[in-house]
Point group: C2
Amino acid sequence: MPPVLVVGTVAYDSVETPFGKVEEALGGSATFFSVAASFFTEVRLVACIGKDFQQKDVDFLESRNIDIQGLERMDGQTFRWTGKYGYDLNDAQTLATHLNVLASFEPKLPPSYQSVEYVFLGNLDPLIQRKVMAQVKAPKLIACDTMNYWISGHFASLVETIKQVNILVINDAEARQLTRESNLARAARKILSWGPHTVVVKRGEYGALMFSRADGQRVAVFGTPAYPMEDVFDPTGAGDSFAGGFMGYLAGINRVDEKTLRQAVIFGSVIASFNVEKFSLDRLKELTFTEIELRYREFREMTLFDDVIDWKH
Amino acid sequence: MPPVLVVGTVAYDSVETPFGKVEEALGGSATFFSVAASFFTEVRLVACIGKDFQQKDVDFLESRNIDIQGLERMDGQTFRWTGKYGYDLNDAQTLATHLNVLASFEPKLPPSYQSVEYVFLGNLDPLIQRKVMAQVKAPKLIACDTMNYWISGHFASLVETIKQVNILVINDAEARQLTRESNLARAARKILSWGPHTVVVKRGEYGALMFSRADGQRVAVFGTPAYPMEDVFDPTGAGDSFAGGFMGYLAGINRVDEKTLRQAVIFGSVIASFNVEKFSLDRLKELTFTEIELRYREFREMTLFDDVIDWKH
């Protein structure tokens, strides 16, 4: 089962939602991604931590399917993010960001990572994302994420990165900002014209859309609603755990065609839906593969409808 | 093929979008509904018009499958709505509303309408909606729509109407406002607890969700993304044409079970997706049933994904 490599952030998050708050919880894009992907395959983690990063958190990562040879401990403090959500849980308000060790992070892939075929470039400086790509010898599938900060401040560099990846995983506001296209279908087509064969657009509580020409030149569109949650507790990490489920499944099954990409979008949606049920990684820590399979089946039940074969007009 | 009865507004709309403007175009909730439903079955229209309503518009309605015996011509001017859309085409800004004859409208069903089994109560005063229901002798399915104006100003009366209908068709902001629940799944469950067996939540460019216990006590959830339009020209009437396709199909096929309701949501989504391609009713006027069937099939292609049968963990 091919492993997946992820580069991104490992952080301590302080989060407040209408339902409670948590201080200094393990978080960061690479952490959520890794734990999510670990349900499907082995993960090779590339990230940096500070001197203050706790041993219990190292132990937790190691207890999963996560290789931490690429987790570099640097002088200084671990990256910290403080955020708050209102009743509209779609949008986080960032209260504080302390880059700390992240400011001088230069990812170096351990030799055993360099032959990994499935690669996810988490939300980081696009230049760093390219430096990681350059160290991967024979990639089969490279996907990347980004955020508004890089779109507005490092646009040309970001486009250079996007040109070199196969899949862009992005949210709808970012897709619009990146392409200066208010229409999402047009935005997706523009991104595809830059190089990637697939764009996955995350829409939070509205689900996900995928535009893909993985099977040929025709762009196939796939859409799914999100799982209709009655209790969203903490949306932190929803996008990263989506990406982890998505990439973890593709690597685990070692196939990148339209059919498999669609299943991967559903697995991503499944993992994200669990992730938001509790604070931080609390829900993923207790999650079982049986629960994942059950919710995958619920997605099928939720979206299936019949052909109209008995309709006489 | 059982007909569907609709009560609602017939209006002259003046609409401005980023792509152009139209003045005094035929519109109104009952008009969009009727034209949409007429692809699937006969329509019995109940609405009022003023002395100024043009004969060519009467002729157009008659040229469809629409019975206009219930279209009452009153002293005064036809209802008028003026609205504007920005680049975010989800939300209309109402610039002017002139109720005109609508202010004193008291719908009276012609005798031939009173035995209709499929009834749609368009967005009107909930008291008027109940007065229409009272005139229907043996309804099989009653659905209704509403809007923020009635929710904030006539809440108790609206709830009384909702208690008496089988299906509420509503948009997501309205569902939240109506139930004072920010969570949509909870909002839907609350509405179901009032009486309806089905709630259809329209989410504009994000598609639709349906919560239904039409087949029993268990609430089944169905969701579909919207058709990813590259060119949305004028969203006016999207919700009403959705409702028309939805109810027209149910009446036409004369069945109200979960399976048929799901197909009806797709037909509603299909008609709405065509409706927004041109101003006013221009697209529906030229639409063919072959195009409808083709786009229905595109919805299937867009949403299908496989069971995971070859996954070994």
